[in-house]
């Protein structure tokens, strides 16, 4: 038996060989990642790069982000709005490292975001195209927005009953309810929560399940609202899912989304009615009711203004009738120089009753004169006053 060598001697040689071959070199690779373990407190991330043929993994090697490159993971999540997690395909620059105890791995130096974003955008584009192609009620408008059965459905004049799809105890739910509960107009709402996971691998299926549940009692709701807390920039994937987007597009009750993101619009947003945040959805709901009440207030004003007008008209008419009556009153007439003739204390309307020698009373405004008729002459040519 030849002399054995120590383990360290062999490993040192491996180390040497790897150094000779790989020192100072970096490689751009494209691979699927799996077993992603993030340690945000230490700013490390461990993972495995794999390559498959069908479902069989043919190549596998450990990978790592250390504190000095961990920002890549954070930036990836921010840029692509999805969690850096198993199942993703990424393009990244790596260097080969060997550790005498922990073995060989690839240290990730940087991620190609453009590739990641490009890939996501392509997927998104394909999903949108498929939605339009396979569903005749979904149409692309020239301004890059979409019209669907759902967002064409007319909104109620007043919203009172709301089905709220949200994660339990989430910021989104809290923000939404805060605005609804504390509205200064005192409007009443009934908000029924439909709790589900909003993020993660099967979130879209869980949201879909809640939608189906709501549909079984759709007459109970004026609106469906889907909210997600602000700040959680990442994991947008569930809202770009084909089946969920289709269900939203076809849903009979109007759906408002407030999925809390500024930079991107998810496909679900495009199929329903998008608002940026849960707070904005709630504000929209309250403003809608306020606008309704303002319209009622306008009608009320118009109505009572007209009532006043009509009553004023009637008063004016009454006053004018009174004036006419007053104008016809004998004292008004006497003031103008006319006289009343009385014979035997009766007003004379027909001169036939008056004979020569009749004793007449001529009543004028200030005095009454007694006289005797001496002559009667017919006014053949009318009266000459």
């Amino acid at each position: 038996m030849p002399d054995s060598i120590k383990l360290s001697e062999l490993v040192n040689e491996i180390d040497e060989a790897i150094k000779n071959r790989f020192a100072g070199r970096t490689f751009l690779i494209k691979a699927e990642i799996t077993d992603v373990k993030k340690q945000p407190d230490k700013r490390w991330c461990f993972l495995k790069f794999i390559e498959k043929e069908g479902i069989l993994i043919t190549t596998e090697i450990k990978g790592v982000f250390w504190a000095n490159t961990y920002h890549n993971v954070e930036r990836f999540e921010k840029e692509t709005q999805q969690t850096f997690a198993s199942g993703l395909e990424i393009t990244c620059r790596v260097r080969v490292r060997f550790h005498k105890r922990y073995g060989i791995d690839l240290e990730v130096l940087e991620i190609d975001y453009a590739y990641a974003i490009g890939k996501l955008e392509l997927e998104r584009k394909q999903t949108l195209e498929r939605l339009v192609k396979e569903n005749s009620t979904i149409k692309l408008l020239p301004n890059e927005t979409y019209t669907t059965k759902n967002n064409r459905t007319e909104l109620a004049m007043v919203f009172q009953t709301i089905a709220l799809i949200t994660a339990p105890n989430s910021d989104g739910q809290r923000d939404f309810n805060k605005v609804i509960d504390k509205n200064k107009y005192g409007y009443a709402f009934s908000v029924t929560p439909f709790l589900t996971t909003i993020q993660g691998d099967n979130a879209s299926q869980l949201i879909l399940k809640q939608l189906k549940l709501i549909e079984t009692s759709k007459e109970n709701f004026d609106l469906v609202v889907i909210v997600r807390g602000g700040g959680s920039d990442i994991d947008f994937k569930s809202f770009n899912d084909y089946e969920l987007a289709k269900a939203v597009a076809m849903f009979p009750t109007p759906i408002l989304t407030g999925i809390g993101h500024d930079r991107n619009t998810s496909i679900v947003d495009l199929m329903g009615r998008q608002h940026k945040t849960p707070t904005e959805v709630a504000t929209f709901i309250i403003d809608n009711n306020m606008n309704f009440e303002a319209e009622i207030e306008d009608l009320k004003e118009r109505f009572f203004q007209r009532v006043d007008e009509l009553l004023d008209d009637a008063k004016d008419e009454l006053a004018s009738i009174k004036q006419r009556i007053k104008n016809l009153h004998p004292t008004t007439i006497l003031k103008k120089g006319f006289a009343i003739i009385k014979l035997n204390n009766k007003i004379v309307t027909d001169t036939k009753a008056i004979k020569v020698n009749s004793e007449l009373q001529t009543i004028m405004q200030s005095e009454t004169m007694n006289s005797t008729v001496t002559k009667k002459i017919k006014n053949e040519k009318g009266i000459d006053i």
Partner: protein, 63 residues
């Protein structure tokens, strides 16, 4: 049985009332009745916007 009022119906009825009294042919002696109707509709809106029938709904989201 009296049909339950909806916001849509109230809005339409109130609009109709306004249009009726804005018509020049309106007779003042029908005004009292119309004012009564309008007041009822307005009151309904103001009240219903701020109250909600609490129906115990069996529906609750699953966690």
């Amino acid at each position: 049985m009296k049909k339950e009022l909806t916001f849509d119906k109230v809005f339409n009825d109130l609009t109709e009332l306004v249009e009726e009294i804005e018509d020049d042919e309106i007779k003042v002696d029908t005004l009292a009745e119309k004012v009564k109707q309008a007041n009822e509709l307005i009151k309904f809106c103001e009240t219903k916007l701020r109250t909600i029938k609490t129906e115990t709904t069996k529906l609750r989201g699953e966690k």
